[in-house]
C-alpha cells in the first residue's frame, strides 16, 4: 500500500465522526440569522404613518372653500374626495381638489431651500440648508425694518393672523393679490348686500335662474357648491325643473347647460339688467317704489328694451321675455361675475344685476341669494378680504422701482404671472434689495427670487379656513396634514414665525400649528356648533375628524331692503381703435387651470375645456363667419395683435362664439412653473391694455380690442373630440346648430 494513503478503516472512522459532528452541531445550533438581531424586537420612536399594511385610512382636511377627505395608503395620499359632512360641498369635489395629490408628488417640486447662483430670473440656483437660510432671512428681516414688502393672497384665519403679526412685528408692509374680477365682485356684494363675505345661492329651491357671464358651474367663486346645488335645481324636485337662462358674450360651460343663451355685446350685462327692471316696473310685475329705491339715481325709463337692444346686441323681445320670466318664475335669482366684472364698467354690471334680486324679493329668502354671516373668529383673526386693485399695484411697482423695499417676501401667489405684463412687476422686482419666495414651485414670481424656501403643499399643511362663500351659516374648515411632507419643506407660517424670532421680534405662538390650535380653541369657547367634547384636546380631535366647525343656526343678519350705495350706470370702454382692432379680446378663466395657478398639474392640463374639448394648450375661439372672413379654420395659427402686443395661437372655430369676440383661455403661458406648464400656450394678460374698472380700480382684463392676423402656419390643436368631423349616418341625423329666429 502506498505510504500515506487512507485505509478503509480510517475512512469509515472519519465518515462516522463527521456525520456525528454534523448531527450534533446542527442540533445545538440555533437559528441561522444574526443573533444580535434575532433576539431583539424594536420599538420605533415614531408611529408609522400607516400602521396596517394593506389597509387605507381616510383623513378629513380642506382646500379652498371645500371640505375634503383624502385616502392615504402606506403613507401616500392617493385619492381626494369631498367631505360628506362639510356643509359647503356635502361630499362633492372638483378636478382641482382631485389634483391636489399631484402637487405633493410633483417631479418639479422644490425639495430644499435654494439660493440664487446666477442672475435674477436665470433660474440658476444652488442648494442651501434650512439653518443657513433661516438665519439669513432673520438678518434680512431685521435689517430691512420699514423697508419690507410682504405679498400674499387675501388670507383669513390663523394664517392671516400670523402674517398680520409678522408684518407688525417687523414693521413691514403687506399687499394681497387675487384675480382682479374678484375685487369687483366683493365691492359689488358690499354695495348691494352690505356684507364683506360673498353670498351663496339656494338653487335647490329656485325656479328661475339667470346668470350674467358667471360660469358658476366651472369657475365662478364656488363651482363645487353651485354644481351640487344645480343638480337639485334641475332634478331634485318632483314637480319643478328649474329654468336657467344665461346672458353673456361667450358661451361657456354654464351657458351650454342653459335653457336659453342670450349672446350679448361684451360689457352690456348691466344694461340688460336695467332693461329687465324697466320691463318689470312698467308692466307692473314688481313694485315701482321698490325699484326706485333699488335703482336710486338711475332713471329706468331711459333703459326700455327698445333703447338698449341694439347696444346689447340682442332683441327687445328677448329682454322682455327674460324680464317676464324672471318676475313670474319666483323664487328667481340673478347672478353676475367673471367677464361681467372684467370690463371698465364691471361694478355697474354686477350691482345692476344683483339689485334685480331685490325686485323679486329673493335676497335672504328661500330659493334666492343667501347672505353669509362674518366668520366666527375672534377680532384679531382676519376674515375674508379683498385683494389689492390694479390701480394700487401701480403704486407698489413705483415704490419697488424707487428702491424703497430692501426685502420682498412672496407667499402663495404669482403676481408676476397674474398681473399684466404692462404693469412691469417683473422688472420692478429686480430693483428690490432681495426677493424671498415661500413657494413649492418655480412659478414666474419665484423665478425672480434670490432665496426660495419650499413650503408644504395643501395636503401637508395645517390651516383653518373660513370658506368664502360659506354655506349660508357660520362654517370653518379645518385643514390638517394628511401625509408627512414629501420633501424637506416647512410650513409658511413657521418660516415667518422663525424669521421674526431670528430678527428679535416674537410672535405669540411657537409654531403655526399652535396658532391653528388656538383658533380652534376659541371656537370651542363659543359653546355652540357641531362639536361636543369635554375638553380642548378632545375638541380638537373631533374637529379634525369632522373636518371643521359649523353652526347651522348662526345665519346672516337680515338683509338690507335695498343696495346701500347706488352705482351709476356706465358704458364699457375699450383700448384700441375699432377700425384697427375690430374684435373684442375676451380672456376667460379656464375651468381646470383657473387663472393659471394650477397649470403645473398634468391632470388639470389634460382636462378638456367643456366647450372646445381642447387640452394642454391655448387657443382663440372664433365664430365661423369671422373665421371665413379671415380665411382660417381650426388649427390655423393666427397672430393676435392688440395695442399692447401680439401673440400667436391656433384657432378653434366655434359656431357658438360671438362674431365680434376673440376669446382666449387664461392659465397658460408660464415662463417656468415646472415641466408641464413651461412655455406652453400664451398668457392673454400679456396682451391686455391696463385699463381699470372705473370705481374699484381693478384691472378690466376684458377691456382691450384685438386684431387677428393670419400666419399661414397650421398646427393640430390637441383636443378630446378628435380631429375627424362628424359625418352623416343613415337614420342617425347630426344635430345641427342653426341661427336663432330673431
Amino acid at each position: 500500500m502506498r505510504k500515506g494513503a487512507m485505509r478503509r478503516r480510517d475512512f469509515l472512522k472519519l465518515v462516522a465522526t463527521s456525520t456525528t459532528g454534523a448531527v450534533l452541531f446542527t442540533g445545538c445550533g440555533i437559528g441561522d440569522g444574526d443573533p444580535e438581531r434575532e433576539f431583539k424586537i424594536e420599538s420605533p420612536v415614531l408611529n408609522p404613518v400607516d400602521l396596517v399594511f394593506g389597509r387605507d385610512n381616510w383623513y378629513a382636511t380642506a382646500a379652498g372653500e371645500c371640505g375634503l377627505i383624502v385616502r392615504v395608503f402606506e403613507g401616500r395620499a392617493k385619492k381626494v374626495e369631498g367631505n360628506p359632512d362639510f356643509p359647503t360641498n356635502l361630499g362633492a369635489s372638483d378636478a382641482r381638489a382631485q389634483a391636489l395629490v399631484q402637487e405633493v408628488y410633483h417631479p418639479d417640486r422644490i425639495a430644499q431651500p435654494l439660493r440664487l447662483s446666477g442672475a435674477r430670473g436665470s433660474g440658476e440656483y444652488q442648494n442651501a440648508s434650512w439653518e443657513d437660510v433661516l438665519t439669513e432671512l432673520g438678518n434680512d428681516v431685521n435689517g430691512a425694518r420699514g423697508a419690507t414688502l410682504v405679498i400674499t393672497p387675501p388670507l383669513s384665519g390663523p394664517m392671516g393672523q400670523v402674517v398680520n403679526e409678522f408684518v407688525q412685528a417687523v414693521d413691514a408692509e403687506h399687499v394681497t393679490y387675487e384675480p382682479e374680477d374678484r375685487i369687483v365682485l366683493r365691492e359689488a356684494v358690499r354695495r348691494v348686500f352690505g356684507t364683506d363675505t360673498l353670498p351663496t345661492l339656494d338653487l335647490a329651491n329656485t325656479n328661475f335662474l339667470v346668470s350674467f357671464s358667471a360660469d358658476f358651474l366651472h369657475t365662478w367663486i364656488s363651482p363645487v357648491q353651485f354644481s351640487r346645488q344645480y343638480g337639485e335645481f334641475r332634478q331634485g324636485r318632483e314637480d319643478v325643473r328649474g329654468t336657467y337662462w344665461h346672458v353673456s358674450s361667450r358661451m361657456d360651460g354654464s351657458a351650454a347647460n342653459a335653457d336659453r343663451w342670450l349672446p350679448i355685446t361684451p360689457g352690456t350685462e348691466g344694461l340688460v339688467a336695467l332693461a329687465m327692471a324697466q320691463v318689470m316696473v312698467s308692466e307692473g310685475l314688481v313694485d315701482r317704489a321698490v325699484a326706485e329705491q333699488v335703482y336710486s339715481g338711475i332713471s329706468l325709463d331711459q333703459y326700455a328694451p327698445d333703447a338698449v337692444a341694439e347696444t346689447a346686441g340682442i332683441s327687445a323681445e328677448q329682454i322682455t321675455e327674460l324680464a317676464r320670466r324672471f318676475a313670474e318664475g319666483q323664487p328667481s335669482v340673478a347672478i353676475a361675475g367673471s367677464l361681467a366684472a372684467a370690463h371698465t364698467n364691471g361694478l355697474f354690471n354686477l350691482t345692476a344685476v344683483f339689485a334685480l334680486n331685490y325686485l323679486v324679493g329673493s335676497v335672504g329668502q328661500e330659493g334666492g341669494i343667501i347672505l353669509n354671516p362674518p366668520p366666527p373668529f375672534e377680532s384679531d383673526v382676519p376674515g375674508p378680504s379683498s385683494g389689492l386693485p390694479y390701480s394700487d399695484w401701480s403704486g407698489v411697482v413705483n415704490d419697488l422701482n424707487s428702491g424703497r423695499y430692501q426685502l420682498v417676501i412672496v407667499y402663495g401667489v404669482d403676481p408676476v404671472y397674474g398681473l399684466p405684463e404692462a404693469l412691469g412687476l417683473r422688472e420692478a422686482l429686480a430693483n428690490a434689495g432681495k426677493v424671498v419666495a415661500l413657494s413649492s414651485f418655480l412659478d414666474d414670481t419665484t423665478l425672480q427670487a434670490d432665496l426660495i424656501l419650499p413650503v408644504h403643499t395643501t395636503l401637508e399643511s395645517w390651516g383653518l379656513i373660513a370658506p368664502d362663500p360659506g354655506p349660508g351659516f357660520q362654517a370653518v374648515a379645518l385643514q390638517q396634514p394628511v401625509v408627512n411632507p414629501f420633501v424637506d419643506s416647512r410650513a409658511a407660517g413657521d418660516i415667518l414665525i422663525e424669521a421674526a424670532t431670528a430678527a428679535g421680534a416674537s410672535l405669540p405662538w411657537p409654531t403655526y400649528e399652535d396658532a391653528v390650535r388656538a383658533a380652534v380653541d376659541s371656537l370651542r369657547q363659543l359653546n355652540r356648533g357641531n362639536i361636543d367634547a369635554p375638553d380642548a384636546k378632545q375638541y380638537f380631535v373631533m374637529a379634525q375628524a369632522q373636518g371643521g366647525w359649523w353652526d347651522t343656526s348662526e345665519t346672516a343678519e337680515s338683509a338690507p331692503d335695498a343696495p346701500e350705495t347706488p352705482t351709476p350706470a356706465a358704458q364699457p370702454e375699450y383700448a384700441g381703435d375699432p377700425g384697427q382692432f375690430p374684435l373684442y379680446l375676451l380672456p376667460f378663466p379656464s375651468n381646470s387651470l383657473g387663472y393659471g395657478e394650477t397649470a403645473n398639474l398634468p391632470w388639470l392640463q389634460a382636462l378638456p375645456d367643456p366647450m372646445t374639448s381642447a387640452v394642454w394648450s391655448s387657443w382663440v375661439e372664433l365664430n365661423p363667419t369671422t373665421a371665413d372672413r379671415l380665411g382660417v379654420d381650426t388649427g390655423d395659427v393666427v397672430r393676435l395683435v392688440t395695442p399692447r402686443g401680439s401673440a400667436e395661437v391656433p384657432v378653434y372655430v366655434n359656431p357658438a362664439a360671438h362674431p365680434d369676440v376673440a376669446a382666449v383661455p387664461m392659465g397658460q403661458g408660464h415662463t417656468d412653473f415646472g415641466r408641464y406648464a413651461k412655455g406652453r400656450g400664451i398668457n392673454p394678460l400679456d396682451l391686455v391694455e391696463p385699463a381699470t374698472e372705473s370705481e374699484t380700480g381693478a384691472l378690466a382684463w376684458a377691456g382691450t380690442r384685438v386684431r387677428v392676423e393670419t400666419t399661414g402656419r397650421k398646427v393640430r390643436l390637441p383636443r378630446f373630440e378628435g380631429q375627424v368631423p362628424a359625418f352623416q349616418l343613415e337614420g342617425a341625423p347630426i344635430i345641427e346648430v342653426i341661427p336663432s329666429e330673431h
Binding site: 462516522a16 456525528t20 448531527v23 450534533l24 442540533g27 445545538c28 440555533i30 437559528g31 441561522d32 440569522g33 434575532e38 433576539f39 431583539k40 424586537i41 424594536e42 420599538s43 420605533p44 420612536v45 415614531l46 408611529n47 408609522p48 400602521l51 396596517v52 399594511f53 389597509r55
Partner: protein
C-alpha cells in the same frame, strides 16, 4: 466467550456513539424548552400588570395590529408618549429612560420573548379573529412582572391545538 468480547465491545461503543446525538437533542429539547427559559430582563422594565390590571388597558391598545395583521406589533415610543407626556417622570427611572429615548430619537431594542423559527409563519389576526384570546397562547401576561413564554409553542404544540380545534394541519398552513 473471549471471541465474542470484541464484537460486543464494538457494538456497545457504536451504540454509545449513536446515542450521543439522540441524548444531546433530547437534552436540548428539555433544557432549551421555551417555557423553561428564565424571564429576560428588558431595557425598560415595562410592567404589564400595572397597565392591564390597574389602568385596564386592552392588549390591542398597544399591540395595535394583533387583530388585523400577522404581527401583533410592538408599540412605537410615540404611542407610549401619548400618555407619558403628561405622566410625571420624577424618581421613575424607567419613565426617564423612555422619555430620554424618545427625545433623543433612539429606538428601544427589547429582548424578544417569543421566537419562532424563520420557516414558520404565525398570523396573529387569523387566530384572534377565530375567537382565541391572547391568553390562550401568551398566558396571564397581566400577572407577569416580567414576561416569559407561557406555552411551548413548538410544532407539536401547534399541531395538537390545530387538531383539537379542527384546523388544517397540512404543512403549508404554517410553512409557506
Amino acid at each position: 466467550m473471549r471471541r465474542y468480547l470484541r464484537p460486543v465491545v464494538f457494538g456497545l461503543v457504536v451504540l454509545v456513539l449513536l446515542a450521543i446525538p439522540v441524548v444531546a437533542i433530547l437534552a436540548r429539547s428539555y433544557f432549551l424548552s421555551p417555557t423553561a427559559q428564565p424571564a429576560k430582563a428588558q431595557p425598560i422594565a415595562f410592567t404589564h400588570p400595572f397597565h392591564v390590571n390597574t389602568l385596564g388597558l386592552d392588549c390591542t391598545f398597544c399591540h395595535r395590529t394583533a387583530t388585523t395583521q400577522a404581527s401583533a406589533g410592538v408599540p412605537a415610543l410615540e404611542q407610549c408618549m401619548f400618555c407619558h407626556r403628561v405622566v410625571p417622570t420624577t424618581n421613575k427611572p424607567n419613565l426617564e429612560r423612555l422619555v430620554q429615548a424618545f427625545e433623543s430619537n433612539t429606538p428601544i431594542q427589547w429582548n424578544r420573548v417569543h421566537q419562532m423559527p424563520d420557516h414558520v409563519k404565525f398570523v396573529h389576526s387569523m387566530h384572534i379573529n377565530a375567537g382565541f384570546d391572547c391568553a390562550t397562547c401568551h398566558g396571564p401576561v397581566e400577572d407577569m412582572a416580567t414576561v416569559s413564554q407561557f406555552r411551548d409553542l413548538r410544532m407539536g404544540d401547534c399541531i395538537d391545538c390545530h387538531r383539537q380545534n379542527n384546523a388544517r394541519t397540512d404543512c403549508a398552513v404554517c410553512h409557506y
